[in-house]
């Protein structure tokens, strides 16, 4: 435990050291011109500062892992890990004796992410295909930046959009007439809006991947008398498949880690249901709700957020590593 504390302070001391380093670095720069002989010494110091800065990323990761693992350890001293990972009930109580099972949260997270991908992957891919294979220069010149604007909009904006526009619309025109639910916040609301958010992400990744397929393959298919769509469906996409799988995994990792859209659009009720018009909740929503307000860092109800965070971190990291690996292998194939 002492070691863990030491590491954490290390991260902070590192930051201070960098601040000091920057001052030294500026000082060093002025010295280079004035005292030529000092060049070697100064350069050695500057190099040290550069190396230090490049390790900040490692320190950040270490900080994340340590703070998550450390507090999760506390949590599991107070709450059984089997109940956490296999519990199907999420009912935190102020007076203690809470049920803190992750499964309903995981279900909500995966269900919403699935709907988001169902929206984003076809739209993003078709948009990318249209822009790279069909669109005229003018259409591309308008559509591409417009879709990129979607990527630049902060997630809180999407969250508000879910809350005030998409949620009520789905409730009034679908959920209530069909008798499927009464709530504006729902899996579908959050999933749809998150899907819109992911469109530019999927389309720009797909664009890169489709463009990496060599022109000679397209020529081969067209030369045999394929229509452009047959070329895309039967030659380009199968060739690009690994890259596309990687892109979808990256998008899934984004969806799973997304917070503001689900906080405002999905609801707070932990539930395991198939009805997409019902409000459900996610891991990220519960991290926010357990860690905002007055925190008592000895209560399992607060500490559970760290266990949730660690689970989230592990899932997204695994998805990213696999996705980046697949994409890299794919790129190498055509380089």
């Amino acid at each position: 435990m002492a070691g863990i504390l030491g590491e954490q302070s290390g991260a902070f001391v590192g930051l201070l050291a960098v601040a000091a380093g920057i001052i030294g670095f500026v000082w060093g720069l002025t010295r280079i011109g004035v005292e030529y002989k000092a060049r070697d010494t100064v350069e050695r110091i500057v190099m040290g500062v550069l190396i230090l800065c490049s390790t900040i990323a490692i320190l950040t990761t270490a900080g994340i892992v340590l703070s998550l693992v450390f507090e999760t350890g506390h949590f599991f001293q107070k709450y059984s890990w089997t109940d956490f990972f296999f519990g199907t009930n999420w009912t935190p109580r102020f007076q203690g004796n809470s049920d803190l099972g992750i499964l309903p949260l995981l279900w909500g997270t995966l269900y919403i992410s699935f709907i988001a991908l169902l929206v984003a992957v076809p739209i993003g891919m078709f948009a990318a295909i249209y822009m790279s294979e069909y669109a005229s220069k003018r259409v591309r010149g308008i559509a591409k930046p417009a879709i990129e604007v979607l990527a630049g909009i902060p997630t809180i904006v999407y969250g508000l959009f879910a809350l005030i526009t998409v949620g009520p619309m789905l409730r009034d025109y679908f959920a209530q007439p069909l008798g499927l639910g009464q709530s504006g916040a729902s899996v579908l609301t959050a999933g749809l809006v998150m899907g819109i958010m992911l469109i530019p992400f999927v389309s720009s990744l797909s664009d890169d991947i489709i463009n990496a397929v060599p022109q000679s393959l397209r020529d081969g298919a067209l030369g045999l008398g394929s229509t452009p769509s047959e070329t895309i469906k039967q030659v380009v996409l199968p060739a690009a498949l690994p890259g596309i799988v990687g892109a979808v995994l990256l998008a899934a990792s984004r969806a799973i880690g997304e917070t503001m859209i689900v906080v405002l659009g999905a609801g707070a009720a932990a539930r395991m249901s198939l009805n997409p018009f019902e409000a459900m909740t996610t891991i990220t929503v519960k991290i926010v709700s357990q860690l905002t307000g007055d925190n008592d860092f000895s209560a399992p109800e607060t500490l559970v957020a760290f266990a949730l965070g660690l689970t989230l971190f592990v899932i997204t990291l695994a998805l990213n590593i696999v996705a980046l690996y697949i994409v890299r292998k794919y790129r190498e194939q055509y380089e």
């Binding site: 490049s54 900080g63 069909y134 997630t155 760290f306």
Partner: protein, 451 residues
């Protein structure tokens, strides 16, 4: 990738037919082609429609926040009530509570109604008094304390009108909804209508929305994003002063000096993975490391800035490295060739040339940080803050809000008037983002490749 059907009619004699006539199979395939193409066009259409609906719903909903209804009435500042000791000493006068000013204002509205000869059936005193915002009395108090000579005179005053009445003029509140609402009544709305006809009630541009601090649950009409803008600004300053130097230094090392070994590989993989870590995890890091461990205060821009710095670093490192990579090696060789050290060639020649690219990446990283919400929730930025933080550097440790968090905060309030405020805050946020992106584009255009 299903196999295409193989109909019997299409055999190799088909190829013997004229080129000028499309055979049945070709027609079918061309129809499939057209369908596929239209899916693509539809996908782009859906994305564009989503963008338009998103922006128009936010801008449509938030435009109202920039207009506010005011009542301009003469207010007789009764010296006996507001300065019981009669010595015009602000210190003494500050003992008079806001409540008394409320009474003075109520009387003024009563007089205005009576003078205007407005008679509405069932209009109660509560309706008349409730017409003006609870914030108005505090504003009047501030004004009198600043200028005690006003006492005893009658001053023309612009007072904020209650959020419900304001909502009525913006279409959010209707006579029907007022019927069921305990905070307003159809009579009150009719009164407002009468006053508007007499020109006493006006809805006009509301600059206060941008400069005012947040207001409590009961007075959405007074809430503004002033503190949030300042908080966001402070955090951006922290990010700018930490993330940019560290990010650039790290990029220079990795791109120009780092040997190709295990350790640098680890750093590389680390950076690309860090870029994909969910933002909320950075919030947990901030809470555990900066607040619980290092003991920095909650809700402080310095903590928000540190968290955003760590989040933005990968973005800045990735774009800076791309900018450095784009500088042709010939420039480095030229510098080395005249006897500069490797370090000098980088700092004197490569870095200045890569600067536009670095700036563009930095601005985009800052824009990302400006819109980030989730991690800030965990470090207490969501608290209700009415006081403006002091000037930096001390102000960095004062509690403040941030624009996106203010939006979240307002969505959690009961009064629907706050939704309008939230959308309005987003318009402010988007305006900032737009400016930053335009700046990035201008920089890129301006300095695009000079070699």
């Amino acid at each position: 990738m299903t196999d295409l059907p193989m109909p019997a009619d299409a055999s190799r004699d088909a190829t013997k037919s004229s080129l000028l006539v499309a055979d049945a199979r070709t027609r079918k395939r061309n129809a499939a082609e057209k369908r596929f193409r239209s899916y693509g066009a539809a996908a782009i259409g859906v994305a564009l429609v989503a963008l338009v609906v998103l922006l128009s719903s936010i801008i449509g909903g938030g435009a109202g926040a920039f207009r506010q209804t005011y009542l301009s009435i003469p207010v007789a500042l009764d010296a006996d009530v507001l300065d019981p000791k009669g010595n015009r000493d602000p210190a003494e006068m500050s003992k008079v509570l806001t409540l008394s000013y409320g009474r003075v204002l109520d009387a003024a509205v009563d007089t205005a109604v009576a003078d205007g000869g407005i008679e509405i059936e069932g209009l109660s005193d509560k309706d008349i008094g409730g017409l003006i915002s609870k914030e108005a009395s505090a504003q009047l108090r501030d004004r009198v304390l600043a200028d005690p000579e006003l006492l005893g005179t009658t001053v023309e005053t612009n007072v904020l009108v209650n959020g419900r009445v304001d909502g009525y003029f913006k279409g959010r509140v209707t006579m029907e909804s007022a019927e069921a609402d305990g905070n307003t009544s159809p009579q009150q709305l009719m009164l407002a209508e009468e006053l508007k006809e007499r020109g006493m009630l006006v809805t006009r541009f509301n600059w206060d929305f941008v400069t005012n601090p947040d207001a409590s649950d009961q007075r959405p009409e007074a809430a503004g994003v002033g503190v949030a803008i300042l908080g966001s600004l402070y955090m951006m300053l922290v990010v700018l002063f930490l993330a940019v130097p560290i990010g650039v230094a790290a990029s220079i090392y990795l791109e120009e000096f780092a040997p190709k070994n295990r350790w640098t590989d680890v750093i590389e993989v680390n950076i690309s993975n860090l870029a994909a870590v969910p933002s909320i995890v950075f919030g947990i890091l901030g809470l555990a490391a900066f607040i619980n461990f290092a003991g920095l205060p909650q809700s402080a821009p310095i903590v928000g800035g540190l968290v955003l710095t760590l989040m933005t670093l990968p973005t800045i490192i990735i774009s800076t490295r791309a900018a450095l990579k784009a500088v042709p090696p010939s420039i480095r060789d030229a510098a080395l060739g005249v006897g500069a050290s490797k370090m000098q060639s980088v700092f004197h020649h490569v870095l200045p040339l890569a600067m536009p690219g670095i700036l563009t990446g930095t601005i985009i990283g800052l824009a990302q940080a400006l819109g980030e919400t989730a991690p800030l929730l965990l470090i207490g930025m969501v608290a209700f803050v009415r006081e403006f933080p002091a000037a930096p550097p001390e102000g960095l440790f004062d509690p403040a809000s941030a624009l996106p968090v203010q939006v979240y905060n307002w969505t959690q309030r009961a009064d629907p008037a706050f939704i309008e405020r939230a959308s309005g805050a987003i318009i402010v946020l988007l305006a900032f983002l737009l400016c930053m992106n335009v700046l990035a584009i201008v920089l890129r255009r301006r300095f695009e490749r000079r070699w």
